[in-house]
């Protein structure tokens, strides 16, 4: 495994130490995903993953707080970026719209060829397929998302100038946003990534804005303005 690849290196090339750390992180992530895809989450131990990545088990926990985190650990920086987006995206417009824009953009990033964290293409898809297959992992994903939802709720409350202790709206919206993300992502994986995740996300938010009608257009729709759109 070479250390200096896959990254377009827009930055002045991090120190060797940093590169090694990033490589180890990726290696752990990658091997965790591989092993879990092969054997199922339950039948993979942290020791297995560490061994595959050629580090000690203890080192695994220096990188990830839990076995699950190696699969869908969102870096703090990404959460901070979401926060930032929720606060400042589309000022003046409704928070729901801003949230929608931010999350659609995030979905696009995460599923772009490079994959998140600069990993392999399709990595996100593989990850979600694995998650989809295992109820325990779906639960763990929900748990993980709960933390992100908290951050979102906080940001939404700030944007709206509402006191979370008095108004449930920010927390409610944040929870719903999390639900949308989880549902669309799992569905996306179940179709093998046939329809881009960002479009699915956008349509889900449209349905939400329309009051979740039963015959809503969760299937491809011709929309003006933003993303080009196809019909089915």
């Amino acid at each position: 495994m070479t250390l200096a690849d896959t990254a377009p290196a827009a930055e002045p090339r991090a120190s060797l130490r940093e590169r090694k750390k990033l490589a180890t992180r990726r290696s752990l992530r990658r091997h965790a995903l591989d092993l879990v895809a092969q054997r199922g989450f339950m039948h993979v131990t942290v020791e297995d993953i560490a061994e595959a990545a050629d580090v000690s088990p203890r080192t695994f926990f220096n990188y990830f707080p839990s076995k699950e985190a190696a699969l869908f650990g969102a870096d703090p920086e990404r959460v901070a970026a979401l926060r930032e987006g929720v606060l400042h995206q589309a000022p003046g417009e409704p928070a729901l719209d801003a949230l929608r824009q931010v999350l659609v953009a995030e979905a696009r990033k995460v599923t772009s060829e490079l994959g998140d964290l600069g990993g392999e293409p399709q990595e996100m898809l593989r990850r979600m397929k694995v998650v989809r297959a295992d109820p325990h992992l779906r639960a763990a994903q929900s748990a993980h998302m709960a933390n992100i939802e908290s951050a979102l709720a906080e940001a939404l409350a700030e944007r709206l100038g509402k006191d979370p202790a008095r108004d449930p709206y920010p927390a409610l919206l944040a929870s719903i946003a999390g639900a949308v993300i989880r549902a669309t992502t799992v569905f996306w994986a179940s179709t093998g990534g046939a329809e881009p995740l960002d479009q699915l996300t956008d349509r889900a938010f449209q349905a939400l804005a329309d009051g979740m009608p039963e015959h809503c257009s969760l299937r491809p729709v011709i929309r003006t303005a933003a993303p080009g759109k196809d019909e089915e």
Copy 2:
């Protein structure tokens, strides 16, 4: 601790064995809640709980699959009831409305004086206060809710005659319903139960049906008997 109390005994009085089992279950739940409320989830071991309830630690796991489950374990029968409700409540009406009715009714039951599982009054409130305080527990609650969401999604798909593999609507709606439950419940706890949970739930669903407008009426509204619609 007497065995035969708290239950109005509409039934022919279960066998001694059944009564003991139920008593043990309640005792474990109760002591788990007490201890966690005192010391925090992290600082309570299963051994502590078992000791307090006067059973062996092994027995604890005969009743609950995990430490968390003693706090917010929904009995399978209750989930089955939800499923049933989603399938057959308000036939002909939109699934969202049926879901709303079912969950509002559930909220009323769960927060009724008797508490769920026939426990103490206010037990639900104490439980949710504890959950609200601890991020780990909030995550665990999300994880737990994910399972219920799966059941809801299945039921919704059946009701709507939609194929979950082709249409994300049922899963999306189920996830959102779970999000609504979690958000409203946590908020309800944060207000100390000032406003009835079922009303909060109903208003949250109203907001959802209205497309989550920012200035929606999540605060008390004068509403007539049945969901006779209000304008905001």
